[in-house]
Protein backbone atom coordinates (compact mmCIF):
# COMPACT_ATOMS: atom_id res chain seq x y z
CA UNK A 1 0.00 0.00 0.00
CA UNK A 2 1.16 3.52 -0.78
CA UNK A 3 -0.26 6.54 0.98
CA UNK A 4 0.66 10.03 -0.12
CA UNK A 5 -0.84 12.98 1.66
CA UNK A 6 -0.44 16.69 1.16
CA UNK A 7 2.82 16.15 -0.69
CA UNK A 8 4.49 19.38 -1.78
CA UNK A 9 7.94 19.93 -3.26
CA UNK A 10 9.35 23.34 -4.02
CA UNK A 11 12.71 24.15 -5.60
CA UNK A 12 13.20 27.77 -4.63
CA UNK A 13 10.23 29.52 -6.22
CA UNK A 14 9.43 26.66 -8.55
CA UNK A 15 6.66 24.39 -7.34
CA UNK A 16 7.29 20.86 -8.60
CA UNK A 17 4.31 19.28 -6.88
CA UNK A 18 1.64 20.89 -4.81
CA UNK A 19 -0.55 19.27 -2.16
CA UNK A 20 -0.72 15.88 -3.82
CA UNK A 21 -2.71 13.16 -2.04
CA UNK A 22 -3.61 9.66 -3.14
CA UNK A 23 -3.73 6.12 -1.87
CA UNK A 24 -2.99 2.92 -3.74
CA UNK A 25 -3.92 -0.46 -2.26
CA UNK A 26 -2.76 -4.01 -2.99
CA UNK A 27 -4.02 -5.39 -6.29
CA UNK A 28 -4.19 -1.98 -7.93
CA UNK A 29 -2.01 -0.86 -10.82
CA UNK A 30 -2.01 2.89 -10.79
CA UNK A 31 -1.05 4.73 -13.97
CA UNK A 32 0.57 8.02 -13.13
CA UNK A 33 0.04 10.32 -16.11
CA UNK A 34 1.03 13.81 -16.96
CA UNK A 35 2.94 15.89 -19.45
CA UNK A 36 6.73 16.06 -19.10
CA UNK A 37 7.65 18.20 -16.14
CA UNK A 38 4.30 17.63 -14.41
CA UNK A 39 5.92 16.25 -11.25
CA UNK A 40 5.65 12.51 -11.85
CA UNK A 41 9.32 11.74 -11.31
CA UNK A 42 9.50 14.06 -8.31
CA UNK A 43 6.58 12.24 -6.67
CA UNK A 44 8.10 8.84 -7.33
CA UNK A 45 11.48 9.96 -6.01
CA UNK A 46 9.85 11.08 -2.79
CA UNK A 47 8.05 7.74 -2.40
CA UNK A 48 11.35 5.95 -3.02
CA UNK A 49 13.06 8.15 -0.42
CA UNK A 50 15.51 9.70 -2.84
CA UNK A 51 14.41 13.27 -2.20
CA UNK A 52 12.61 14.76 0.78
CA UNK A 53 9.34 16.63 0.33
CA UNK A 54 8.98 20.28 1.35
CA UNK A 55 5.72 19.36 3.08
CA UNK A 56 3.44 16.36 3.41
CA UNK A 57 4.11 12.68 3.95
CA UNK A 58 4.48 9.49 1.96
CA UNK A 59 4.26 5.97 3.36
CA UNK A 60 5.05 2.59 1.85
CA UNK A 61 3.23 -0.32 3.49
CA UNK A 62 2.56 1.88 6.50
CA UNK A 63 6.21 2.92 6.88
CA UNK A 64 6.70 6.66 6.62
CA UNK A 65 9.51 7.26 4.14
CA UNK A 66 11.04 9.98 6.32
CA UNK A 67 10.74 8.33 9.72
CA UNK A 68 11.36 4.69 8.79
CA UNK A 69 13.35 5.03 5.57
CA UNK A 70 14.95 1.59 5.68
CA UNK A 71 11.70 -0.33 6.34
CA UNK A 72 9.95 1.66 3.60
CA UNK A 73 12.74 0.97 1.10
CA UNK A 74 12.88 -2.69 1.99
CA UNK A 75 9.19 -3.04 1.10
CA UNK A 76 9.65 -1.18 -2.16
CA UNK A 77 10.94 -2.17 -5.57
CA UNK A 78 11.91 0.95 -7.46
CA UNK A 79 12.86 1.52 -11.08
CA UNK A 80 14.34 5.01 -11.37
CA UNK A 81 13.77 7.01 -14.55
CA UNK A 82 16.07 5.76 -17.31
CA UNK A 83 16.80 2.49 -15.46
CA UNK A 84 20.29 3.42 -14.27
CA UNK A 85 22.81 0.73 -13.35
CA UNK A 86 26.56 0.28 -13.41
CA UNK A 87 27.68 -0.25 -17.00
CA UNK A 88 30.81 -2.24 -16.14
CA UNK A 89 28.83 -4.92 -14.29
CA UNK A 90 27.15 -7.96 -15.82
CA UNK A 91 23.46 -8.64 -15.13
CA UNK A 92 24.59 -11.59 -13.01
CA UNK A 93 26.88 -9.58 -10.74
CA UNK A 94 24.47 -6.64 -10.68
CA UNK A 95 21.51 -8.72 -9.52
CA UNK A 96 23.70 -10.58 -7.02
CA UNK A 97 24.75 -7.20 -5.62
CA UNK A 98 21.14 -6.03 -5.26
CA UNK A 99 20.19 -9.33 -3.60
CA UNK A 100 23.07 -8.94 -1.12
CA UNK A 101 22.26 -5.34 -0.25
CA UNK A 102 18.64 -6.35 0.26
CA UNK A 103 19.77 -9.07 2.63
CA UNK A 104 18.61 -12.13 0.66
CA UNK A 105 20.38 -15.27 1.84
CA UNK A 106 20.93 -18.93 1.04
CA UNK A 107 18.11 -20.81 -0.62
CA UNK A 108 15.77 -17.88 -0.93
CA UNK A 109 18.48 -15.76 -2.55
CA UNK A 110 19.17 -18.49 -5.11
CA UNK A 111 15.47 -19.03 -5.83
CA UNK A 112 14.68 -15.34 -6.17
CA UNK A 113 17.64 -14.79 -8.52
CA UNK A 114 16.73 -17.75 -10.73
CA UNK A 115 13.07 -16.75 -10.78
CA UNK A 116 13.83 -13.11 -11.64
CA UNK A 117 16.30 -14.01 -14.38
CA UNK A 118 13.81 -16.45 -15.90
CA UNK A 119 10.92 -14.07 -15.69
CA UNK A 120 12.76 -11.29 -17.50
CA UNK A 121 14.49 -13.59 -19.96
CA UNK A 122 17.96 -12.41 -18.98
CA UNK A 123 19.52 -15.87 -19.39
CA UNK A 124 21.27 -15.21 -22.72
CA UNK A 125 22.98 -11.98 -21.57
CA UNK A 126 23.86 -12.86 -17.98
CA UNK A 127 27.61 -12.57 -18.46
CA UNK A 128 27.76 -9.66 -20.87
CA UNK A 129 28.57 -6.26 -19.40
CA UNK A 130 25.52 -4.05 -19.11
CA UNK A 131 26.92 -1.31 -21.35
CA UNK A 132 26.99 -3.74 -24.29
CA UNK A 133 23.29 -4.63 -23.89
CA UNK A 134 20.48 -3.28 -26.08
CA UNK A 135 18.10 -0.72 -24.64
CA UNK A 136 15.44 -3.38 -24.16
CA UNK A 137 17.73 -5.62 -22.15
CA UNK A 138 19.01 -2.68 -20.09
CA UNK A 139 15.42 -1.85 -19.17
CA UNK A 140 14.77 -5.48 -18.28
CA UNK A 141 17.85 -5.51 -16.04
CA UNK A 142 16.45 -2.41 -14.34
CA UNK A 143 13.11 -4.13 -13.83
CA UNK A 144 14.86 -7.23 -12.54
CA UNK A 145 16.62 -5.29 -9.78
CA UNK A 146 13.26 -3.82 -8.77
CA UNK A 147 11.60 -7.21 -8.28
CA UNK A 148 14.50 -9.37 -7.12
CA UNK A 149 13.39 -9.23 -3.47
CA UNK A 150 9.73 -9.84 -4.40
CA UNK A 151 8.56 -6.53 -2.92
CA UNK A 152 4.90 -5.98 -2.03
CA UNK A 153 5.06 -2.46 -3.50
CA UNK A 154 6.49 -1.51 -6.89
CA UNK A 155 7.14 1.98 -8.21
CA UNK A 156 8.26 2.03 -11.83
CA UNK A 157 9.18 5.32 -13.49
CA UNK A 158 8.49 5.00 -17.22
CA UNK A 159 9.12 1.25 -17.44
CA UNK A 160 8.50 1.08 -21.20
CA UNK A 161 10.15 4.32 -22.27
CA UNK A 162 12.29 3.83 -25.37
CA UNK A 163 11.29 0.21 -25.98
CA UNK A 164 9.99 -1.14 -29.27
CA UNK A 165 6.35 -2.27 -29.47
CA UNK A 166 7.20 -5.94 -28.82
CA UNK A 167 9.29 -5.08 -25.79
CA UNK A 168 6.57 -2.76 -24.52
CA UNK A 169 4.11 -5.59 -24.79
CA UNK A 170 6.43 -7.94 -22.89
CA UNK A 171 6.97 -5.46 -20.08
CA UNK A 172 3.23 -4.82 -19.78
CA UNK A 173 2.50 -8.53 -19.66
CA UNK A 174 5.12 -8.89 -16.96
CA UNK A 175 3.60 -6.09 -14.90
CA UNK A 176 0.11 -7.56 -15.25
CA UNK A 177 1.39 -11.00 -14.21
CA UNK A 178 2.96 -9.60 -11.07
CA UNK A 179 -0.06 -7.53 -10.15
CA UNK A 180 -2.11 -9.89 -7.94
CA UNK A 181 -1.48 -8.98 -4.32
CA UNK A 182 0.96 -6.21 -5.13
CA UNK A 183 0.64 -2.46 -5.13
CA UNK A 184 2.04 -1.06 -8.37
CA UNK A 185 2.51 2.49 -9.56
CA UNK A 186 3.80 3.15 -13.06
CA UNK A 187 4.40 6.55 -14.55
CA UNK A 188 4.04 7.08 -18.24
CA UNK A 189 3.03 9.58 -20.83
CA UNK A 190 1.93 6.81 -23.19
CA UNK A 191 -1.83 6.57 -22.97
CA UNK A 192 -2.21 3.13 -24.49
CA UNK A 193 -0.30 1.91 -21.45
CA UNK A 194 -3.07 3.00 -19.13
CA UNK A 195 -5.63 1.13 -21.19
CA UNK A 196 -3.40 -1.93 -21.41
CA UNK A 197 -2.33 -2.43 -17.79
CA UNK A 198 -3.78 0.02 -15.31
CA UNK A 199 -6.77 -0.41 -13.04
CA UNK A 200 -6.74 3.25 -12.13
CA UNK A 201 -5.30 6.44 -13.56
CA UNK A 202 -4.13 9.70 -12.06
CA UNK A 203 -3.41 12.74 -14.19
CA UNK A 204 -1.13 15.44 -12.83
CA UNK A 205 -0.11 18.68 -14.50
CA UNK A 206 1.95 21.49 -13.07
CA UNK A 207 2.28 19.48 -9.89
CA UNK A 208 -1.44 19.29 -9.19
CA UNK A 209 -3.66 16.26 -9.19
CA UNK A 210 -6.38 16.77 -11.79
CA UNK A 211 -8.04 13.39 -12.23
CA UNK A 212 -8.13 10.14 -10.25
CA UNK A 213 -10.37 7.57 -11.95
CA UNK A 214 -10.64 4.15 -13.56
CA UNK A 215 -9.42 4.17 -17.17
CA UNK A 216 -12.94 3.44 -18.46
CA UNK A 217 -14.37 6.39 -16.54
CA UNK A 218 -11.58 8.50 -17.87
CA UNK A 219 -12.45 7.45 -21.41
CA UNK A 220 -16.08 8.33 -20.79
CA UNK A 221 -15.01 11.94 -20.27
CA UNK A 222 -14.03 12.06 -23.90
CA UNK A 223 -16.40 13.79 -26.26
CA UNK A 224 -15.82 10.77 -28.47
CA UNK A 225 -17.31 8.48 -25.85
CA UNK A 226 -20.24 6.65 -27.59
CA UNK A 227 -19.49 8.47 -30.82
CA UNK A 228 -19.92 6.51 -34.08
CA UNK A 229 -17.23 6.51 -36.73
CA UNK A 230 -17.99 5.62 -40.36
CA UNK A 231 -15.52 5.21 -43.21
CA UNK A 232 -17.08 5.90 -46.55
CA UNK A 233 -16.09 3.86 -49.64
CA UNK A 234 -16.85 6.59 -52.20
CA UNK A 235 -15.55 10.09 -51.32
CA UNK A 236 -18.36 11.53 -53.44
CA UNK A 237 -20.88 10.23 -50.89
CA UNK A 238 -19.33 12.23 -48.04
CA UNK A 239 -21.44 15.42 -48.21
CA UNK A 240 -24.85 13.80 -48.26
CA UNK A 241 -23.97 11.16 -45.64
CA UNK A 242 -22.64 13.93 -43.40
CA UNK A 243 -25.86 15.86 -43.86
CA UNK A 244 -27.97 12.78 -43.09
CA UNK A 245 -25.92 12.10 -39.95
CA UNK A 246 -26.39 15.64 -38.69
CA UNK A 247 -30.13 15.16 -38.94
CA UNK A 248 -30.10 11.73 -37.25
CA UNK A 249 -31.58 11.47 -33.74
CA UNK A 250 -29.11 11.64 -30.84
CA UNK A 251 -26.30 13.16 -32.91
CA UNK A 252 -24.81 16.39 -31.62
CA UNK A 253 -22.15 17.18 -34.16
CA UNK A 254 -20.38 15.55 -37.09
CA UNK A 255 -16.65 15.72 -37.79
CA UNK A 256 -15.51 15.09 -41.34
CA UNK A 257 -12.02 13.89 -42.20
CA UNK A 258 -11.68 14.42 -45.96
CA UNK A 259 -8.27 12.76 -46.14
CA UNK A 260 -9.45 9.22 -45.46
CA UNK A 261 -13.19 9.62 -45.96
CA UNK A 262 -14.02 9.25 -42.31
CA UNK A 263 -17.01 10.70 -40.51
CA UNK A 264 -17.44 10.83 -36.77
CA UNK A 265 -20.89 11.45 -35.34
CA UNK A 266 -20.56 12.84 -31.83
CA UNK A 267 -23.43 12.07 -29.48
CA UNK A 268 -25.66 14.80 -28.12
CA UNK A 269 -25.28 14.90 -24.31
CA UNK A 270 -26.47 11.65 -22.77
CA UNK A 271 -27.47 10.10 -26.11
CA UNK A 272 -26.46 6.78 -27.74
CA UNK A 273 -26.75 7.37 -31.49
CA UNK A 274 -25.34 3.98 -32.61
CA UNK A 275 -28.64 2.15 -33.15
CA UNK A 276 -30.21 5.04 -35.09
CA UNK A 277 -27.14 5.46 -37.30
CA UNK A 278 -26.75 1.79 -38.17
CA UNK A 279 -30.44 1.59 -39.03
CA UNK A 280 -30.08 4.67 -41.22
CA UNK A 281 -27.04 3.20 -42.96
CA UNK A 282 -28.90 -0.04 -43.77
CA UNK A 283 -32.01 1.75 -44.95
CA UNK A 284 -30.13 4.20 -47.20
CA UNK A 285 -27.73 1.49 -48.50
CA UNK A 286 -24.65 3.59 -47.67
CA UNK A 287 -21.48 2.13 -49.14
CA UNK A 288 -19.29 1.87 -46.02
CA UNK A 289 -15.95 0.25 -45.21
CA UNK A 290 -16.42 0.62 -41.52
CA UNK A 291 -18.94 1.50 -38.85
CA UNK A 292 -17.84 1.40 -35.24
CA UNK A 293 -18.61 2.65 -31.76
CA UNK A 294 -15.93 4.74 -30.06
CA UNK A 295 -15.11 4.07 -26.41
CA UNK A 296 -13.52 7.47 -26.05
CA UNK A 297 -10.08 8.76 -26.85
CA UNK A 298 -7.70 8.93 -23.89
CA UNK A 299 -5.29 11.24 -25.66
CA UNK A 300 -8.09 13.72 -26.19
CA UNK A 301 -9.11 13.54 -22.50
CA UNK A 302 -5.47 13.91 -21.53
CA UNK A 303 -5.08 16.98 -23.73
CA UNK A 304 -8.30 18.58 -22.54
CA UNK A 305 -7.52 18.00 -18.87
CA UNK A 306 -3.87 19.04 -18.95
CA UNK A 307 -4.25 22.04 -21.24
CA UNK A 308 -6.99 23.35 -18.98
CA UNK A 309 -4.45 23.11 -16.17
CA UNK A 310 -1.92 25.10 -18.17
CA UNK A 311 -4.38 27.98 -18.40
CA UNK A 312 -4.99 28.05 -14.65
CA UNK A 313 -3.13 30.81 -12.82
Amino acid sequence: MIEVSGLTKRYGDVVAISDLSFRVVAGEILGFLGPNGAGKTTTMRIIAGFIAPTAGTAAVLGHDVAREPLAARQALGYLPEGAPSWPEMTPRSFLAFIADVRGLKGDRRRRRLTDTIDRLGLGPVLDQTIDTLSKGFKRRVGLAQAIVHDPPVLVLDEPTDGLDPNQKHEVRTLISEMAPGKTIVISTHILEEVDAVCTRAIIVARGRLLVDERPATLQARSRYHNAVTLTVAEPADLPHIAAALRAAPGVGDVEVDLRDGRLTALPAPGQLPLAAISELATREHWNLHELRLEAGRLDEVFRTVTSAAEQMP
Partner: protein, 244 residues
Protein backbone atom coordinates in the same frame (compact mmCIF):
# COMPACT_ATOMS: atom_id res chain seq x y z
CA UNK B 1 26.02 -4.77 7.61
CA UNK B 2 24.80 -6.50 4.43
CA UNK B 3 24.84 -3.15 2.69
CA UNK B 4 28.32 -2.14 3.77
CA UNK B 5 29.92 -5.36 2.62
CA UNK B 6 28.01 -5.61 -0.65
CA UNK B 7 28.70 -1.99 -1.64
CA UNK B 8 32.35 -2.32 -0.61
CA UNK B 9 32.80 -5.44 -2.74
CA UNK B 10 30.96 -3.99 -5.72
CA UNK B 11 32.97 -0.81 -5.57
CA UNK B 12 36.32 -2.56 -5.22
CA UNK B 13 35.52 -4.85 -8.15
CA UNK B 14 34.55 -1.84 -10.24
CA UNK B 15 38.08 -0.40 -9.90
CA UNK B 16 39.44 -3.45 -11.63
CA UNK B 17 36.74 -3.53 -14.32
CA UNK B 18 38.55 -0.74 -16.16
CA UNK B 19 42.24 -0.31 -17.00
CA UNK B 20 42.32 2.66 -14.62
CA UNK B 21 43.30 0.45 -11.70
CA UNK B 22 46.29 -1.06 -13.44
CA UNK B 23 47.42 2.28 -14.86
CA UNK B 24 47.20 3.79 -11.40
CA UNK B 25 49.16 1.03 -9.73
CA UNK B 26 51.89 1.00 -12.38
CA UNK B 27 52.31 4.78 -12.28
CA UNK B 28 52.34 4.79 -8.50
CA UNK B 29 54.99 2.09 -8.33
CA UNK B 30 57.15 3.68 -11.03
CA UNK B 31 56.99 7.13 -9.47
CA UNK B 32 57.50 5.84 -5.93
CA UNK B 33 60.62 3.99 -7.09
CA UNK B 34 61.93 6.82 -9.21
CA UNK B 35 61.69 9.54 -6.57
CA UNK B 36 63.09 7.34 -3.83
CA UNK B 37 66.24 6.56 -5.76
CA UNK B 38 66.81 9.76 -7.73
CA UNK B 39 65.42 12.61 -5.63
CA UNK B 40 65.62 10.85 -2.27
CA UNK B 41 69.18 9.62 -2.69
CA UNK B 42 68.32 6.20 -1.27
CA UNK B 43 71.82 4.79 -1.85
CA UNK B 44 73.83 7.94 -1.33
CA UNK B 45 72.46 8.52 2.18
CA UNK B 46 73.99 5.25 3.28
CA UNK B 47 71.26 4.73 5.89
CA UNK B 48 69.16 1.60 6.16
CA UNK B 49 65.72 3.22 6.44
CA UNK B 50 62.84 4.17 4.14
CA UNK B 51 62.70 7.90 4.92
CA UNK B 52 63.50 8.88 1.31
CA UNK B 53 60.65 6.58 0.23
CA UNK B 54 58.01 7.88 2.63
CA UNK B 55 59.02 11.55 2.31
CA UNK B 56 57.66 11.71 -1.20
CA UNK B 57 54.35 10.00 -0.51
CA UNK B 58 52.47 13.23 0.25
CA UNK B 59 53.46 14.56 -3.17
CA UNK B 60 52.63 11.35 -5.00
CA UNK B 61 49.26 11.19 -3.26
CA UNK B 62 48.56 14.80 -4.12
CA UNK B 63 47.90 13.79 -7.72
CA UNK B 64 47.19 10.09 -7.57
CA UNK B 65 44.63 9.89 -4.76
CA UNK B 66 42.37 12.59 -6.27
CA UNK B 67 42.39 10.47 -9.42
CA UNK B 68 41.02 7.56 -7.39
CA UNK B 69 38.59 9.76 -5.44
CA UNK B 70 37.16 11.73 -8.34
CA UNK B 71 34.88 8.95 -9.56
CA UNK B 72 33.56 7.98 -6.11
CA UNK B 73 30.38 10.06 -6.34
CA UNK B 74 30.68 12.35 -9.36
CA UNK B 75 30.31 9.44 -11.74
CA UNK B 76 27.33 8.01 -9.84
CA UNK B 77 25.63 11.37 -10.00
CA UNK B 78 26.38 11.85 -13.68
CA UNK B 79 25.06 8.43 -14.71
CA UNK B 80 22.08 8.50 -12.34
CA UNK B 81 23.08 5.30 -10.53
CA UNK B 82 23.22 7.36 -7.33
CA UNK B 83 19.42 7.21 -7.37
CA UNK B 84 19.52 3.44 -7.48
CA UNK B 85 22.20 3.18 -4.79
CA UNK B 86 20.58 5.61 -2.36
CA UNK B 87 17.09 4.13 -2.66
CA UNK B 88 18.34 0.70 -1.57
CA UNK B 89 17.71 -0.04 2.10
CA UNK B 90 21.08 1.35 3.19
CA UNK B 91 21.83 4.49 5.19
CA UNK B 92 23.65 7.11 3.10
CA UNK B 93 26.46 7.16 5.66
CA UNK B 94 27.00 3.42 5.19
CA UNK B 95 27.26 3.85 1.42
CA UNK B 96 29.75 6.70 1.91
CA UNK B 97 31.92 4.62 4.26
CA UNK B 98 31.72 1.53 2.03
CA UNK B 99 32.86 3.44 -1.03
CA UNK B 100 35.61 5.15 0.96
CA UNK B 101 36.88 1.82 2.31
CA UNK B 102 36.94 0.36 -1.19
CA UNK B 103 39.02 3.31 -2.41
CA UNK B 104 41.33 2.98 0.59
CA UNK B 105 41.75 -0.75 -0.01
CA UNK B 106 42.71 0.01 -3.56
CA UNK B 107 45.33 2.59 -2.56
CA UNK B 108 46.47 0.23 0.19
CA UNK B 109 47.01 -2.47 -2.41
CA UNK B 110 49.21 -0.13 -4.44
CA UNK B 111 51.12 0.65 -1.25
CA UNK B 112 51.59 -3.03 -0.39
CA UNK B 113 52.99 -3.63 -3.87
CA UNK B 114 55.93 -1.37 -2.99
CA UNK B 115 57.23 -4.27 -0.82
CA UNK B 116 60.33 -4.81 -3.03
CA UNK B 117 61.77 -1.63 -1.57
CA UNK B 118 61.31 -3.06 1.92
CA UNK B 119 63.09 -6.26 0.80
CA UNK B 120 65.85 -4.16 -0.74
CA UNK B 121 66.51 -2.17 2.39
CA UNK B 122 66.53 -5.33 4.47
CA UNK B 123 68.98 -6.92 2.04
CA UNK B 124 71.30 -3.92 2.12
CA UNK B 125 71.31 -3.38 5.87
CA UNK B 126 69.35 -3.95 9.02
CA UNK B 127 66.64 -1.30 9.26
CA UNK B 128 64.16 -0.80 12.09
CA UNK B 129 61.24 -2.76 10.62
CA UNK B 130 58.91 -1.41 13.29
CA UNK B 131 59.61 2.10 12.06
CA UNK B 132 58.98 1.01 8.50
CA UNK B 133 55.65 -0.55 9.46
CA UNK B 134 54.74 2.69 11.24
CA UNK B 135 55.63 4.54 8.06
CA UNK B 136 53.32 2.36 6.02
CA UNK B 137 50.46 2.79 8.50
CA UNK B 138 50.94 6.55 8.51
CA UNK B 139 51.16 6.67 4.74
CA UNK B 140 47.90 4.73 4.39
CA UNK B 141 46.17 7.02 6.89
CA UNK B 142 47.35 10.07 5.00
CA UNK B 143 46.07 8.55 1.76
CA UNK B 144 42.78 8.05 3.62
CA UNK B 145 42.73 11.74 4.48
CA UNK B 146 43.21 12.72 0.84
CA UNK B 147 40.60 10.19 -0.22
CA UNK B 148 38.03 11.50 2.27
CA UNK B 149 38.57 15.06 1.01
CA UNK B 150 38.17 13.77 -2.54
CA UNK B 151 35.02 11.89 -1.58
CA UNK B 152 33.32 15.05 -0.31
CA UNK B 153 34.34 17.13 -3.33
CA UNK B 154 33.34 14.34 -5.69
CA UNK B 155 29.88 14.34 -4.12
CA UNK B 156 29.59 18.07 -4.78
CA UNK B 157 29.83 17.83 -8.57
CA UNK B 158 28.78 15.68 -11.50
CA UNK B 159 32.07 16.22 -13.28
CA UNK B 160 35.02 14.01 -12.49
CA UNK B 161 37.43 16.62 -13.87
CA UNK B 162 36.12 19.32 -11.54
CA UNK B 163 36.22 16.86 -8.65
CA UNK B 164 39.85 16.06 -9.47
CA UNK B 165 40.99 19.68 -9.71
CA UNK B 166 39.15 20.78 -6.55
CA UNK B 167 40.58 17.84 -4.63
CA UNK B 168 44.13 18.58 -5.75
CA UNK B 169 43.76 22.22 -4.72
CA UNK B 170 42.21 21.49 -1.33
CA UNK B 171 44.72 18.72 -0.60
CA UNK B 172 47.57 20.99 -1.60
CA UNK B 173 46.37 23.64 0.86
CA UNK B 174 45.91 21.02 3.58
CA UNK B 175 49.38 19.62 2.95
CA UNK B 176 50.99 23.00 3.32
CA UNK B 177 48.74 24.45 6.01
CA UNK B 178 51.69 24.65 8.39
CA UNK B 179 53.95 26.43 5.93
CA UNK B 180 54.40 30.11 5.02
CA UNK B 181 52.62 29.69 1.66
CA UNK B 182 49.31 29.17 3.45
CA UNK B 183 50.04 30.77 6.81
CA UNK B 184 51.05 34.11 5.27
CA UNK B 185 47.48 34.55 4.10
CA UNK B 186 46.35 34.53 7.74
CA UNK B 187 49.34 36.27 9.32
CA UNK B 188 48.78 39.90 10.14
CA UNK B 189 45.05 39.82 10.65
CA UNK B 190 44.12 36.49 12.20
CA UNK B 191 44.50 36.01 15.94
CA UNK B 192 47.28 33.68 17.06
CA UNK B 193 44.98 30.81 18.11
CA UNK B 194 43.45 30.71 14.62
CA UNK B 195 46.92 30.74 13.11
CA UNK B 196 47.89 27.82 15.31
CA UNK B 197 44.68 26.02 14.42
CA UNK B 198 45.36 26.39 10.71
CA UNK B 199 48.97 25.33 11.14
CA UNK B 200 47.90 22.23 13.07
CA UNK B 201 45.75 21.13 10.13
CA UNK B 202 48.83 20.49 8.03
CA UNK B 203 49.02 16.96 6.64
CA UNK B 204 52.75 17.35 6.14
CA UNK B 205 53.56 18.26 9.75
CA UNK B 206 51.60 15.28 11.02
CA UNK B 207 53.06 12.93 8.48
CA UNK B 208 56.68 13.93 9.00
CA UNK B 209 56.82 12.42 12.45
CA UNK B 210 55.12 9.24 11.25
CA UNK B 211 57.43 8.87 8.25
CA UNK B 212 60.37 8.82 10.63
CA UNK B 213 58.76 5.92 12.41
CA UNK B 214 57.25 7.81 15.33
CA UNK B 215 53.62 6.77 15.72
CA UNK B 216 52.26 9.54 17.93
CA UNK B 217 48.65 9.04 19.02
CA UNK B 218 47.93 12.69 18.22
CA UNK B 219 49.04 12.27 14.62
CA UNK B 220 47.00 9.10 14.22
CA UNK B 221 43.96 10.77 15.75
CA UNK B 222 44.48 13.75 13.49
CA UNK B 223 44.24 11.63 10.35
CA UNK B 224 41.37 9.55 11.66
CA UNK B 225 39.41 12.64 12.62
CA UNK B 226 40.15 14.28 9.28
CA UNK B 227 38.76 11.22 7.54
CA UNK B 228 35.71 11.23 9.82
CA UNK B 229 34.96 14.91 9.28
CA UNK B 230 35.30 14.75 5.49
CA UNK B 231 33.22 11.60 5.23
CA UNK B 232 30.53 13.23 7.33
CA UNK B 233 30.74 16.20 4.97
CA UNK B 234 30.31 13.78 2.06
CA UNK B 235 27.05 12.53 3.58
CA UNK B 236 25.77 16.07 4.06
CA UNK B 237 26.76 17.16 0.56
CA UNK B 238 25.10 14.08 -0.92
CA UNK B 239 21.93 14.78 1.00
CA UNK B 240 21.87 18.28 -0.48
CA UNK B 241 23.04 17.67 -4.00
CA UNK B 242 22.26 14.08 -4.98
CA UNK B 243 19.08 14.87 -6.92
CA UNK B 244 20.43 17.92 -8.79
Amino acid sequence: MNGLRAIYQRELASYFATPLAYVFIVIFLLLAGAVTFSLGGFYERGQADLAPFFNFHPWLYLFLVPAVAMRLWAEERRSGSVELLLTLPVRPGVAVVAKFLAGLTFVGLALVLTFPIWITVNYLGSPDNGAILAGYVGSLLMAGGFLAVGSALSAATRSQVIAFILTVVVCFLLLLAGFPLVLDVFRGWAPAPLLDAVASLSFLTHFQAISKGVLDLRDLLYFIMTIGVWLYATTLVLELRKAD
